[in-house]
């Protein structure tokens, strides 16, 4: 676990990549209870104007959050986590799915051993999350 004293504003988290396939979305539907048809039915997703079946925003948020929890060591150290979903993540019906690239930087050090992390999550050239921030309690 990184120590508060040793972390500086500008410290970078290790960059990560994650994949999201159709099978992952089906699994996430079941685990979360979010069975919105746009996450598993291409016919309806495209009929309502989406590019393809799209990932649950919460799936993208969870994977991006993993860059934070893996860095923190203790996932219970996350005090807050907020994102804006700026673009849908289309998940094609193939084995590759979508590839999410996540990076993060320490943006601020707060009182009480807490740090603010700014996160970016991209698919190809598109930012799929904006204003993504987490507050983590360090020791």
């Amino acid at each position: 676990m990184p120590r508060y004293d040793e972390v500086e504003v500008g410290t970078e988290l290790p960059a990560r990549t994650f994949t999201i396939t159709r099978a992952d979305l089906v699994r996430y539907c079941g685990a979360s209870g979010d069975f919105n048809v746009i996450h598993w039915n291409e016919r309806i997703a495209t009929a309502v104007g989406l590019p393809d079946v799209i990932s649950h925003g919460m799936m993208t948020m969870a994977q991006t959050g993993r860059a934070v929890t893996d860095w923190a060591g203790d996932p219970g150290a996350v005090r807050s986590y907020a994102v804006r979903f700026s673009r849908p993540v289309a998940v094609a019906d193939d084995d590759q799915g979508a590839t999410l690239t996540v990076s993060g930087t320490v943006e601020d050090k707060l009182d009480g051993g807490r740090v603010v992390l700014g996160l970016t999550a991209t698919v190809g050239d598109s930012k799929v999350l904006t204003a993504a921030k987490a507050v983590v309690q360090l020791s």
């Binding site: 994650f18 992952d24 699994r27 996430y28 079941g30 685990a31 979360s32 209870g33 979010d34 069975f35 919105n36 048809v37 746009i38 309806i44 309502v48 104007g49 799209i54 649950h56 925003g57 919460m58 799936m59 948020m61 969870a62 994977q63 959050g65 993993r66 934070v68 929890t69 893996d70 060591g73 203790d74 996932p75 219970g76 996350v78 005090r79 807050s80 986590y81 907020a82 994102v83 804006r84 979903f85 849908p88 204003a131 987490a134």
Partner: protein
């Protein structure tokens, strides 16, 4: 058709507490592809100072779906077409990690409904409390109802 703004300010207490189980945490962690031992192994969680396995930071999203049929978004009177909905923003304020064995009560309220261009934004806030009254978390969720905003009156020349 625009959603019904009379819903702003309404509160929806969950009809029953939500019991957090180890196996559901495991299934959620596996679904997000994150097999951190703190989510799966009580011994590993205890080594970090937690009384039992903890849940990933976004786990409480399950409450929105567990209680969906009794919440505001599925009330036909709101007039929301769920296939036109995408998620706009989400935040979790976690006073402590959610853990196996928690018996959580929650209240969802409609904080705001407003236009954003041709879309409408519906903001809900869910307060989550443990059985002993300890505040566990606050969730704020903004969903986007695409293309349902009322047409603007043309401006007078």
């Amino acid at each position: 058709m625009p959603v019904n703004r009379d819903f702003i300010g309404r509160e929806y207490p969950a009809s029953a507490p939500y019991e957090v189980g180890r196996e559901h945490i495991r299934r959620f962690a596996e679904a997000i592809g994150d097999v951190n031992p703190a989510y799966l192994d009580a011994e590993a969680a205890r080594a970090l100072g937690h009384p039992d396995v903890i849940a990933p930071p976004t786990f409480l999203t399950v409450l929105n779906f567990r209680y969906a049929t009794e919440g505001p978004l599925s009330d036909p009177a709101l007039g929301l077409d769920y296939s036109m909905v995408v998620h706009g923003e989400q935040s979790f304020e976690l006073h402590r990690p959610v853990r196996a064995g928690d018996v959580l009560s929650s209240v969802q309220s409609v904080e705001d409904i407003k236009d954003a261009g041709r879309n409408e934004l519906i903001v809900t806030v869910t307060q989550v409390t443990a059985a002993d009254g300890e505040k566990v978390a606050t969730l704020r969720s903004t969903i986007v109802s695409r293309g349902t905003a009322a047409p603007r009156e043309p401006k007078e020349a």
